[in-house]
Assembly symmetry: C2
Homo-oligomer: 257 residues x 2
Amino acid sequence: MDKLFVVKIGGNIIENSTKLESFLQDFSELKGFKILIHGGGKKATAMANKLNIPVQMIEGRRITDEDNLNIITMMYGGEINKNIVVKLQALNCNAIGLSGADGNLISAVKRSVKDIDYGFVGDITEINLNLFLLLLENALTPVCCAISHDKNGQLLNTNADTIASSIAKSLSSHFEVSLWYCFEKNGVLGSISDEQSVIELINPEIYDDLKSKEMINLGMIPKIDNCFDALKNGVNMVKIGSPKMIKINEVHTTLIL
Amino acid sequence: MDKLFVVKIGGNIIENSTKLESFLQDFSELKGFKILIHGGGKKATAMANKLNIPVQMIEGRRITDEDNLNIITMMYGGEINKNIVVKLQALNCNAIGLSGADGNLISAVKRSVKDIDYGFVGDITEINLNLFLLLLENALTPVCCAISHDKNGQLLNTNADTIASSIAKSLSSHFEVSLWYCFEKNGVLGSISDEQSVIELINPEIYDDLKSKEMINLGMIPKIDNCFDALKNGVNMVKIGSPKMIKINEVHTTLIL
């Protein structure tokens, strides 16, 4: 099987133009099939502030009312996505920017209200494997923003980590998939205050052990759960680290089963 | 040859949600191959006003400085494009929203400064015919916003009428193309104050005669020149009128050679 890289970049990279350009240079040099996934929550929050639109976060998750959904559509689907695409084009990477509505790429259902009403937030139901295959086979590099749709005319804000793992799982039927999460740390840290404390390898046993010792930052738990879910569903390899890891053999965390 | 409809909608339709939804319903029912092109200048201006960003227009054309380019990218590429796409998806039209940077769809050069510096405005140099063919052959309906790129990392604001005619001309090598401009009037009017004064047929002789009698509104002249240019370069038929003309045989202007 051919190799496919599914790379997700976090908001701290997107909002720093030097970091972003350096990352895009490295990404453009990755040989073979690849897909980029981005959110951009910090930029969306900054725009909401400029427009005097309140932003409500609960446990790090955005409550997406109609105004915030419009901002997300403008920022993720427009400014961030198109600026990434135009820069990749200049680097000879034939990028094509897409939301989950485009070509029915990512369908979802609006999250049902239990304790918290998250608003226009989507839980993914289907990845359009055929469209990804069509694009990749034609030497296009999909650049996906963190928006899905419900097939009934509603855009939905959707977690970019989950989009990345859902795409990776779906495409593992046709590729040997490496899923890389790039963020502002060098990997999963054993001690949140020590950048050098990267845990280089995590398997389910190590993970259980780290959790029982409360050595994993709470915010990392859904991310790591997401990674193991991907590995259990066909993804070959998952890495968490700084954007530099895609180019050089920088210290990072590798997750295996 | 198969038929292809290239339909451009103006800002007055985009900013009126009732008109837009009615148009999208009709557009979704057009049988066969089709492409939609939109701008959204009025929505961009409204957003600039909200963000206290000055908008300078000279002879109806926007001076696109960096701040205004960002707004255009957010609004055309993001909010407007994705909201059209998600609505078309709900109408069983497999729309895919694209800027000219996506897949290198529309390349351009930044307009050189003569008397006026229009800023980040692009004059089209190339349409990516192969990508349009790939998408259309796979039952996708491209929805193109009025943004091109210079292949060197710069997005460029580009006249939506010109994008529509450039796409129509390029695709006329493979399709029998009808190019339809939908706007707030019922067609080219003989008297600007009389909505009933639609000139139903314009050929080059009639056009010269109307111009000599000063019966054509000045703002319409570049639009009509654009239409004749398309007809001279392979486009089969050009129509100008209200969005309703794509569904019913509403009065409109037909241009022929």
